[in-house]
Amino acid sequence: MAAAAQAPAAAKVVVATSPRAGGGGGGGGDRKVVPVVVAAAAGDEAQSEMHVLAVDDSSVDRAVIAKILRSSKYRVTTVESATRALELLCLGLVPNVNMIITDYWMPGMTGYELLKRVKESSQLKEIPVVIMSSENVPNRISRCLEEGAEDFLLKPVRPSDVSRLCSRIR
């Protein structure tokens, strides 16, 4: 609850009117979701406005993650590499991205490097970054979380993982 005091008044108003904020608000209290909440409209429409950039080198994984996110009413843009994602973000070609969800291991720039670049950038650092990986390597997971990742999802990603994210990032 201490974190709520840091949020601007406008964000608090939106949170208060959101039907699901009362029950599940506690878990996400310390998350930096302020820009997301401010940008989105209240209630259910907030979710339909959410725009996610999904980054994965596997075409199968891109199709699956995009479908899961869309079924949770996210708007989704998919790209096949971290380099391309960074390019689009820095050039502002995908404006109003509310979340980045990226594979960890990709040829060229990895998802971990993308996370670091986003968190280093004053322009992008507020965007929550979620890392996905097929390998359950504990120190990889803690390294990502230390660098500011919002969450770490094991692949294959399930619809239930995304609904959990949904209730937190809004």
């Binding site: 596997s58 199968v60 994984d61 479908k67 079924s71 291991w105 294959p156």
Partner: protein
């Protein structure tokens, strides 16, 4: 009547794919996503992407294993990719074979890798045949009931 018979055939095919362990609950999740979202082409799209991807990767691995000096790290990277795609589509048997395959890559065993490649290829072709039959049955069923299209 004919549509009902096709549906029975499809149900029987799917349950045999589950009971033989060819596909797992991830595949069921994809089917549920398709049904709930009212997007009939989704499973077909993912299955087609998987088959194209797996076919390409298996050919790449075969080429690498033919080299006089095998780059096992490269083979392992491809097997890892195939394992990832299999897991995402719920192709359980191919995924398990990939896990064994990676052990041979780490042991740098060419014979082991060649054997694992033969198994993975066999498992994949078997699954692809079943997927193709499944998609054909779905198309035939939809042809009877244009509302589902």
């Amino acid at each position: 009547m004919a549509a009902a018979a096709l549906r029975d055939q499809l149900t029987a095919l799917l349950s045999s794919m589950f009971s033989q362990g060819l596909v797992d609950e991830q595949f069921q999740q994809l089917q549920m996503l398709q049904d709930e979202g009212g997007t009939p082409g989704f499973v077909s799209e993912v299955v087609t992407l998987f088959c194209d991807d797996a076919d390409r990767i298996i050919n790449e691995i075969a080429t690498l294993l033919e080299q006089p000096v095998v780059n096992f790290d490269k083979v392992d990277a491809y097997v890892h990719q195939l394992k990832g795609s299999s897991a995402s589509v719920g192709a359980q048997k191919v995924k398990f074979t990939c896990m064994q395959f990676r052990q041979f890559c780490q042991d740098k065993s060419r014979d082991g890798c060649l054997m694992a490649l033969a198994v993975v290829r066999n498992d994949f072709y078997d699954l692809r045949n079943k997927f193709q039959t499944m998609l054909q049955l779905e198309q035939q069923i939809q042809a009877y009931d244009p509302k589902q299209q």
